[in-house]
Amino acid sequence: MTKTDSFSLKFNDGWKYDPAPESIDHISIAEQYGLFINGEFVNSEGSKYFKTINPSNGDTLSKISEANKKDVDKAVDAAKAAFKSWSKMDPSDRAKYIFRIARMIQERAREFAVIESLDGGKPIRESRDIDIPLAAAHFFYYAGWADKLEYAFPGKNTKPIGVAAQIIPWNFPLLMAAWKIAPALACGNTVVLKPAETTPLTALKLAEIIKDSGLPKGVVNIVTGAGKTGSYLVEHPDVDKIAFTGSTEVGKLIRRATAETNKKLTLELGGKAANIIFEDAPIDQAIEGIINGIFFNQGHVCCAGSRLLVQESVLDEVSKKLKARLESLIVGDPLDKNTDVGAINSEAQLEKINSYIQVGKKEGLEMFQSNSKVPSKGFFCKPTLFFNVAQSSRLAKEEIFGPVLAIQSFRTVDEAIEKANNTPYGLSAGVWTDKGSKAFNMSSKLKAGVIWANTYNKFDPTSPFGGYKESGFGREGGVHGLKEYLILENQEG
């Protein structure tokens, strides 16, 4: 036992905060939702419904239409028809609609934040301060590009692609919808969007905004459903472009399904990012970066810093401080303003996470969870640390997509790079050092699409995001994000 192990802080019997729940009086969720096709909410042809629930207590929030093949055909037809005029509209007029959608999201930000937390389980602090403002910011950002595309790609003629099929995940429902819809519209494409089956509500609320904004009918269509609905969309012959964010497994299926077609494809898939702490790092700030890296959104983040690589000389200090920090993380009701870690998105996901915790236990790894209380109802998982994780451990290799951190150590810069890159994924990484030269050296050698230095999980519409290897291809955000929705042709000179 080293000396630093003997004295510890206590966080159990002190000043406790009373519940501070965000009010839900001001929101309205319909009992049942149809599909948003050609500017109208319509009933599904199949009249099949599935429930969307509140993962923090299991209550049903609404019944959602399961779009069948006929519904998807209708949606794609509407998008195809709308493309004719939308793609030819004066770009500055297209921008006006996108700006209007951005402003309307801002106006209804509180409502969106509450619904996002109700439907998805994420803490209201995150949906209020991050998801919704960032979603609006993406619409604002791409609205600005709509009439400046020729400046984004000098020497090129820019042409929209056509009908974009966009399939988004459940971890950032509205934000992912914004990431997908905003650049597609700015470039003159039309859209059929399929939100995830566990979190369709904010996309359907976005449909209300789109309707109210006066966007021409059929430019954006939203169809709800599970994997089957998604596959109808992917296989539809009139779809010109597919943008998918989700698991690597499904990403591979889509790539197979689109082989030998002319469909353009971007995939944003899983990750197993290394968050690398050097001994000269600002340790206390690094601790925050580690916490934010893995426990942000319950770890349901494709770029989560799920592998912690700590230089051996500071491993004891970092471990001790991380454990203490876990004690003051508040796990519980997503709608409580003081909640740091909310509910796991679904029962299936909770089972998956728990099975990985069992794997860690079976491997005989040292595990740490805080003393914080977790609600008995609903899907919750305590923030979990595993120490001394070997590179060969499943916890270091596979994406868990939950609040579980695999902690490893390294001795040299080369070892850190080798371990960080030793994964089929390549979405993101974090580097913590006081030395700028070291940070730049690392960033050129790490095979990851996004690398943060002395921070983690920072997002901005101007910054491109995307992966290497099995984390996918294509970029979203920034100028790079425009390219994925355009056909670029050389200007005749």
């Binding site: 966080f11 009373d18 301060d129 000269d280 925050e288």
Partner: protein, 295 residues
């Protein structure tokens, strides 16, 4: 101890963390107990050239009974110049409220070490329970860390049983890295408290700087097992800010530090805002500032 190698601080990360404490929502019972705790942590302070015995006596009355109608605790201490210590001591007799005195050529610290020691002894002999010293910022910025260290140790010795608060005057030290270094020097030299500011220059206590000082106290505790106290001073004038500081203390150092033995607010205006909030919690209405004594 090599003070050239104190931990690195990333300023952006520090500010971001400090801001997170502000997003905690403190309601109902937690608010009530937080307001009372904050009141009990105040070092009610008057440090003016025009201070008189009568002024100090009035302040002492306020310190013991912040409000005669509300069921509220006394503040922690009254902080005065050395010449007024005996007045305060008499006025506070039997109340449990401590007498704190500034010393060591407060606020600049620009004097001879012997005189600083003498001044400290004088204040202690007059009855001071606590001494608020200032570090020699000039020497610190010259890189004379051992001089600063030795001086603190010297004053600590002169304090005898009195507890020593070491004012870093963080607004004059420049960067978070420097403030961390000064904090470590003060802690290892024997300071019982580390304190942000004199209140005499414009940049007084801020949450990020107080956070890094709390982290220095935590690291010192981890290394030695000894608890040390913290005192942000200056600029904390409303209840909301005080609650933010308590959240920061609660989540950085934990249960053991949540008392006026280990945390103080150096403030003169804060008490009345806390009282106003406490009265509002009791009655449901805000009362005019005229209902609270200005001492």
């Amino acid at each position: 101890m090599d003070f050239k190698n104190t931990p690195n601080i990333d300023q952006q990360g520090l500010i971001e963390r400090a801001n997170r404490f502000k997003s905690r929502s403190i309601k109902k019972e937690a608010k009530l107990s937080g307001l009372k705790l904050a009141l009990s942590m105040i070092d009610l302070t008057t440090l003016e050239g025009k201070d008189t015995k009568e002024k100090v006596k009035q302040l002492c009355m306020k310190a013991v009974h912040p409000d005669l109608e509300l069921n509220v605790p006394s503040v922690a201490a009254v902080c005065v110049y050395p010449s007024l210590v005996s007045t305060a001591k008499k006025a506070l007799k039997g109340s449990g409220v401590k007498v704190a005195s500034v010393a060591t050529a407060f606020p600049s610290g620009q004097s001879d070490q012997k005189l600083k020691v003498e001044e400290t002894k004088y204040a202690v002999n007059e009855g001071a329970d606590e001494i608020d010293m200032v570090i020699s910022r000039g020497k610190f910025l010259e890189g004379e860390y051992n001089y600063v260290f030795d001086e603190i140790a010297m004053i600590k010795e002169a304090c005898g049983k009195a507890r020593l608060k070491v004012i870093l005057e963080t607004g004059e030290l420049g960067t978070p890295d420097q403030i961390r270094k000064a904090s470590d020097i003060a802690l290892y030299a024997g300071g019982d408290f580390i304190k942000t500011s004199t209140g005499k220059i414009s940049q007084a206590a801020t949450m990020p700087i107080s956070l890094l000082m709390l982290e220095a106290i935590r690291d010192f505790y981890y290394k030695t097992g000894e608890m040390r106290a913290m005192k942000p001073a200056g600029g904390i004038s409303d209840a909301k800010t005080a609650l933010h500081y308590l959240v920061m203390l609660n989540e950085t150092l934990g249960d053991q530090w949540m008392s006026n033995q280990w945390f103080r607010f150096g403030a003169s205006r804060l008490a009345n805002d806390l009282l106003m909030q406490l009265k509002k919690q009791q009655s449901g209405f805000y009362q005019s500032a005229d209902y609270f004594s200005k001492d």
